[in-house]
């Protein structure tokens, strides 16, 4: 199947734009923000040169970007946008509306730290702020995954049983700006993979009212139905992936390496690549690595399977939840373990805030500490800030 592909050198941002071009989108509205800006620029070029037959609306804010996307999506268009950090925060209100109105919008998020203090570098606090907005959330490790997952995101979003928006997350700079060879599919192959489905739309000749309000008599049902649809996206996910023409690029909920390692590392996004590298270099086979690609709907079942032999788990979060018992990923994993009655120690590691990329040395040190803590400390949940220069609590 690899013959379907040709190699091109691309950054993560360029891989997004290339995938969106091949997806034959009809409508793009986006607003520039580092580190996502290049996506917007490339797409404007594609539209200007006629390589995409779409309207690009250079809106005056991210709030308007996503609002325009909702209007476009309800008009029946295939829609794309992208953002980061402050932009995503400005969209927050509209994200809930996009999922509530069941708009299959695809959004690339070049993950970046949230202000204050202002910081343009990578971490996941932006998207974690919208964790409960009802979007499917996919995380990518490298530009190749960015390319493949963006294409599959459209099919997942538009699946008649799903009709929900999807974010494709790529770490700011480490994935969005690093160039790697990306094997791309032929236009015709992508086109065939993304058929168009009819869905209710704004049309004078078959009128309907979209975005009506619901009293307490109905609101609850809407929200639970929406949650069910998001769960359903988890089932449809495999079907969408299986149909992807190149097996090597298929979406997976998670990917596990060193399966026999007795301590599991769980991580999402670009840093997983660094962990892979450290484990490959290390002589020890003590650690397995679970690279989580699907964050929402959270694949508890698959996580538990992957953790079934683990004696301990290190959960890497690139965001904090101030005041909460645990940061987002760790909290999901602990909840899943508890539900399954699995009683293994957990080390919750917060790393990489505001672009402080963990070095190989730091990661090696972390692995040593992890062994130590998971073995000796009596408490079941340990916490650690990786690379933090202040005093741990």
């Amino acid at each position: 199947m690899y013959s379907l592909r040709t190699q091109r050198l691309m950054t993560g941002n360029e891989a997004v734009a290339y995938a969106v071009k091949q997806a034959d989108v009809d409508f793009i509205a986006a607003y520039p923000i580092t580190p996502q800006t290049i996506i917007v620029e490339r797409l404007s070029e594609y539209v200007a040169s006629g390589e995409i037959n779409a309207e690009f609306v250079p809106v005056e804010s991210e709030h308007s970007a996503l609002s325009a996307c909702i209007g476009a999506s309800l008009s029946g268009a295939r829609v794309f946008t992208s953002s980061s950090a402050q932009g995503l925060a400005l969209m927050h209100e509209v994200m809930y509306i996009a999922s509530g109105l069941r708009c299959p919008i695809v959004m690339a998020v070049a993950n970046r730290a949230l202000s204050a203090p202002l910081n343009i570098h990578g971490d996941h606090s932006d998207i974690m702020g919208s964790r409960d907005s009802g979007w499917v959330q996919i995380f990518c490790e490298n530009p190749q995954e960015v390319y493949d997952y963006t294409i599959q995101a459209f099919r997942l979003a538009e699946h008649p049983d799903v009709l929900l928006p999807v974010t494709v997350n790529l770490d700011g700079f480490t994935v969005s700006h690093s160039s790697e060879p990306v094997a791309v599919l032929e236009d015709s192959v992508v086109k065939e993979y993304l058929p168009r489905h009819e869905r209710p739309r704004l049309d004078y000749y078959s009128p309907a009212s979209f975005g009506v309000f619901a009293l307490p008599t109905h609101y609850f049902e809407f929200k639970v139905e929406q949650e069910k649809a998001l769960r359903k996206a988890g089932d449809v996910f495999n079907e969408v992936a299986a149909a992807y023409p190149d097996e090597a690029g298929r979406l997976v909920k998670l990917d596990k390496v060193n399966s026999d390692g007795r301590i599991a590392l769980v991580c999402m996004g670009g840093t997983t690549g660094t962990l892979r590298h450290v484990l490959k270099q290390s002589a020890s086979r003590e650690f397995s690595l679970i690279s989580l690609k699907l964050f929402t709907p959270f694949p508890s079942k698959e996580i538990l399977e992957a953790l079934s032999d683990a004696e301990g788990v290190v959960v890497m979060d690139r965001a904090t939840s101030p005041g909460a018992p645990l940061p987002p990923l760790a909290s999901n994993i602990v909840a899943s373990l508890y539900e399954a009655g699995i009683n293994i120690p957990v080390l919750s590691v917060v790393y990489g805030l505001g672009g402080r990329e963990p070095t190989l040395r730091l990661i090696r040190e972390m692995l040593e500490k992890a062994k130590e803590r998971l073995r000796t400390v009596k408490v079941r949940v340990n916490r650690m800030y990786l690379g933090y220069r202040g005093e741990e609590r």
Binding site: R102, A208, H218
Partner: protein, 90 residues
């Protein structure tokens, strides 16, 4: 619960279906057209907020009492003073 199937989306496909609802109980007085004065000019209709005024098959302007809230605009605006507001019985 025939609308149950739509619950997936906050969309209503039965357009204009508030017409199924009566608002007659909003009213404390009702407009009554004095036929001999009315010229069927439709002025009352264009100013009714509901609308609760229509033209019947015979071309006569009529009040739709299921949807009239009794605001009194029609009586106020009729150029022929053909509409009187009459207290509803309690």
């Amino acid at each position: 619960m025939k609308r149950r199937s739509e619950i997936l989306m906050p969309v209503v496909f039965e357009v204009g279906n508030t017409a199924e609802r009566s608002v007659a109980n909003w009213r404390d007085s009702k407009p009554v057209i004095e036929r001999r004065l009315c010229t069927n000019c439709l002025i009352c209709w264009i100013y009714c907020p509901e609308p609760a005024i229509f033209m019947d098959e015979g071309g006569l302007v009529q009040i739709d009492y299921e949807h009239c809230k009794g605001c009194g605009i029609c009586a106020e605006e009729c150029p022929r003073k053909a509409i009187k507001m009459v207290m509803e019985d309690v």
